[in-house]
């Protein structure tokens, strides 16, 4: 009896190779394919278990999306049609030019295989790529049986498990991606053509500039501009406060005013005088209690990007690229996840055990296994597809590049911290009433560092110890003075803050946030500048004149409209993102969502056309005349 022939297709060549390694036990033949130097076909035998049993397997891959959506030729050049037509012009899907060899390979292989197993990444995008692969395979063999492997890292046992418990492709998720692709194409092309054609001629500096619009790009730019304006328009003000010092047992205790500060000097002076008139302060509360600093939550993509940019001195796009590479090499789990809770079924101790050989944290891992292990905290998010990012295998530092080492170390330390105990301490709060005013002092002694020993990114230090105070006792403060200060402007936006804002406002997905930031940099809407020097240097995001003109111009275009629609604020995009989730869950149909969004954006488009003079005025003001905000 002939063995079943199974075709496997992964999302990237490296995954194909890693999976082939595991399934074949290292015994496979490699065939080159014509027309592409990266994609290979690996041929080997593998037993998938019932019902297929022993199979002859060909494992290959694509390189990301196979196809793209575009307008037919007659709509393609910028002056071929009024941009508004693009909202309803026909579109067609075709294989990308540089992917034809890959597509052909799949079609050809499908002809003599009975079944197809999709090994694309398990997320929305992966599901869509899987659908593309399936369509391509059906071109070669209409009767091919299609299955999907569900996996989230390339560790051997996990891959073998996945191969023996195949599932179906998730059509709904693929549909949601298709909807998003269509919307991005139509809306992006229409607005980009309109803006570029109308605004490019206004100044020579724009001659080569494509003024693109994207429903994620604009709100992202909006955050940067908004913060920039807050900094620029800021007015400093003087404030006053009262500080009280008491020396006891040679310890100088600073008591902080419960009002913190006030913006009325006469009132503060009067309040201080009434403190002094009272002469003695009275201890109203002494509260000594155990306190703890919580260990971090399991790692999500957004958190990895924010922490990465903060502590590893890499930008979010770079962090993701490196994490991606670490995943492909099998060292960490899939780095695109929203989940911040570990599944009950996962064997955490086994994962910790893998870290024992490490020079830096092997000892700590040993301690966890001996007795210090604690169940990780569970966050509130679960994308039902991937676990939190965690190390899968130990990676010897010699096999990693400098950047890979940094990201890998962070992922491991974070994971070990999650499996540790909270840091424990003892805090003392003393509250006193002085005149009619309340003051307080706080002391902290760190007793057990626990997770802090491995998670070097968190700081929690003991403060000066407080002397003894008894409730009800009176004392005369050593000093009571007025201090003054000035309010300071907010800082320019940093990349981790921007990611936080995008996340909170539903702009992009964890998978695409870094790309959107990168895109508006490429478009010269924003620039990254270094502030401060040495170790304290931070990179801040500052909009260019073009970026400012676009956002302020657009705010004028929509000023005064009912419902205040806005392309520079996140509301519309957030709505779209929520509707994509509806498509995924099956509660709404793809065509519906697409149509409704197109209708809404078409209206905004028409409005933009009508009030184009507002945008032009902003360009005149900020770019041509170099006016200040």
């Amino acid at each position: 009896m002939a063995v079943t022939k199974v075709l496997c297709v992964a999302e990237k060549p490296a995954i194909a190779k890693a999976v082939a390694q595991h399934l074949s036990g290292g015994q496979f033949q490699t065939h080159h394919i014509t027309g592409n130097q990266y994609v290979k076909n690996y041929v080997f035998d593998f037993n998938f278990g019932a019902p297929w049993g022993d199979c002859s397997v060909t494992m290959t891959s694509v390189i990301g999306h196979l196809t793209s959506v575009d307008f037919p030729r007659e709509y393609k050049t910028w002056l071929s049609c009024p941009p508004a037509v693009l909202f309803e012009a026909p579109i067609h899907t075709s294989v990308d030019k540089d992917k034809t060899a890959i597509a052909k390979n799949i079609m050809k292989q499908a002809r003599n295989h009975r079944a197809l197993v999709i090994w694309t990444d398990c997320d929305r995008e992966g599901e869509h790529i899987g659908a593309e692969v399936r369509d391509q395979a059906k071109e070669g063999n209409r009767n091919i049986l299609v299955k999907r492997a569900k996996f989230n890292n390339t560790e051997r046992a996990h891959v073998l498990d996945a191969a023996r418990s195949l599932i179906e492709l998730n059509e709904l998720q693929a549909n949601a991606v298709a909807a998003r692709i269509e919307l991005d194409l139509r809306i992006g092309a229409a607005f980009t053509r309109l803006l570029t054609l109308q605004l490019q001629p206004l100044h020579e500096s724009l001659a080569q500039q494509v003024i693109s619009y994207g429903s994620c790009q604009f709100p992202t730019l909006g955050f940067v501009v908004d913060r920039y304006l807050r900094v620029k328009r800021f007015k400093p003000e003087t404030f006053w406060g009262i500080k009280v010092i008491h020396t006891r047992d040679d310890i100088k205790v600073n008591f902080l005013w419960s009002r913190v500060r006030l913006f009325d000097r006469a009132a503060v002076t009067m309040m201080l005088e009434r403190c002094l008139m009272a002469k003695n302060a009275k201890v109203t509360k002494v509260n000594q209690k155990p306190t703890s600093k919580w260990k971090p939550l399991p790692l999500t993509t957004v958190d990895l990007q924010m922490m990465g940019t903060r502590y590893l001195h890499m930008n979010s796009a770079a962090v993701m690229k490196v994490a991606e590479a670490l995943y492909t090499k099998g060292f960490i789990s899939y780095p695109r996840t929203e989940t911040d809770q570990f599944d009950k079924g996962i064997d955490l101790k086994k994962l910790i055990e893998k870290q024992l050989p490490d020079q830096s944290w092997g000892q700590y891992a040993r301690g966890l296994l001996d007795s210090n292990f604690r169940t990780p905290r569970a966050g509130r998010h679960n994308d039902q597809a991937h676990p939190p990012i965690h190390p899968v295998c130990w990676a010897s530092p010699t096999v990693l590049s400098a950047e890979e080492k940094k990201v890998y170390e962070f992922v491991v330390r974070r994971f070990l911290a999650c499996c540790s105990d909270d840091a424990k301490g003892q805090s003392t709060d003393v509250e006193v009433q002085y005149g009619e005013e309340m003051f307080h002092a706080r002391g902290l002694i760190v007793l057990e560092r626990n997770y802090l020993d491995v998670y070097v990114y968190d700081k929690w230090d003991s403060t000066q110890q407080l002397p003894n105070y008894r409730v009800g006792e009176l004392f005369e403060p050593t000093e009571a003075n007025i201090f003054d200060g000035k309010t300071t402007p907010p800082n320019y936006l940093t990349e981790p803050e921007l990611i936080g804002l995008m996340d909170a406002n539903g702009i992009g997905t964890d998978a695409t946030m870094a790309e959107h930031i990168d895109r508006i940099k490429q478009r010269s809407y924003i620039g990254a500048h270094s502030r401060g020097n040495g170790r304290s240097a931070v990179e801040v995001l500052i909009p260019t004149r073009l970026g400012i003109a676009l956002i302020l111009g657009y705010d004028d275009v929509f000023a005064g409209l009912t419902d205040s629609p806005s392309l520079s604020k996140p509301f519309l995009r957030k709505q779209m993102e929520l509707e994509m989730r509806d498509v995924c869950s099956g509660s709404r149909v793809r065509q519906h969502v697409v149509q409704q969004n197109l209708d809404m954006y078409r209206e905004l488009f028409i409005h933009t056309q009508r009030r184009m003079n507002m945008l032009k005025a902003a360009f005149q003001k900020y770019i041509v005349e170099e006016g200040n905000v």
Partner: protein, 249 residues
């Protein structure tokens, strides 16, 4: 008629400590004469009180009662401390939040103007990356989110507030909210709202407002309140640019 007017005046003075101007009361009774016939005195008192609270005290109260007036030199900063007589009715002419910077108040107004505040909190959320204060006492196992929301400015009008008050004779005084009071706040306490001061302390020319020394009577003067609201942003802006925030009283 005179009898009724005296009765009303006595009622308002004894139950509400409001020395109503005879002229005003006379006027009130004559304009509501159609109503008064079968109406019990208690209901009529209520109506009068309501009118008084929405009136200007300089018209509705008598300025002749020395026990219910502010001293004319109340602003004198050389007086360290003094007590006001037992009960003085006053109305609010201005209210300011001295716990937040003028600029942060301007920004808050602008957010409302842009319609962002009503769109939910996300857009105004400040994400303090990294310095999440996740100190919890033992046993509180509530899961914190990754980034804590730790509003960098006290966003609501958190106070304390500085008020300008006016008595029936038109004398004005600055008052400071010394301990938090529920009814006092911007957009909470309208201009023209009425208060009763009970043996309030005055320190360096400022009346100290505490729950023991103030009764909020409510009411407002509609026209003044409208004007105050519509001019608030402009006043804040003017102040913040003119003085650079050196806003000593």
């Amino acid at each position: 008629m005179a009898n009724l007017q005296d009765q009303l005046a006595a009622q308002l003075l004894h139950t509400k400590s409001l020395p109503v101007s005879p002229t005003w009361l006379n006027n009130f009774l004559s304009t509501s004469s159609a109503l008064q016939r079968n109406i019990p005195i208690s209901a009529l008192t209520q109506t009068a009180l309501f009118r008084i609270l929405t009136s200007d005290f300089r018209e509705s109260l008598t300025p002749r009662n020395p026990a219910s007036k502010l001293p004319v030199d109340i602003f004198d900063p050389t007086v360290q401390e003094r007590r006001l007589p037992s009960s003085i009715p006053v109305q609010v002419l201005d209210i300011e939040d001295i716990g937040s910077s003028l600029w942060s108040q301007v920004e808050a107004i602008e957010r409302v103007e842009r319609g962002e505040a009503v769109r939910g909190r996300e857009i105004i959320r400040t994400v303090n990356v990294g310095d999440e204060e996740q100190e919890g006492t033992n046993g509180t196992a509530a899961a914190g989110t990754g980034a804590s929301v730790n509003g960098n400015a006290r966003s609501d009008s958190g106070g304390p507030h500085r008020l300008i008050l006016q008595d029936a004779a038109g004398t004005r005084a600055v008052a400071i909210e010394m301990s938090r009071m529920n009814g006092i706040g911007i957009n909470k306490l309208p201009i023209g709202a009425k208060l009763l001061l009970w043996n309030a302390t005055v320190a360096r020319g400022m009346i100290l407002l505490t729950p023991e020394s103030v009764t909020l009577l409510g009411g407002k003067i509609e026209s003044m309140d409208q004007a105050w609201k519509s001019g608030r942003k402009a006043r804040l802006l003017e102040k913040v640019t003119a003085t650079g925030g050196e806003n000593a009283t």
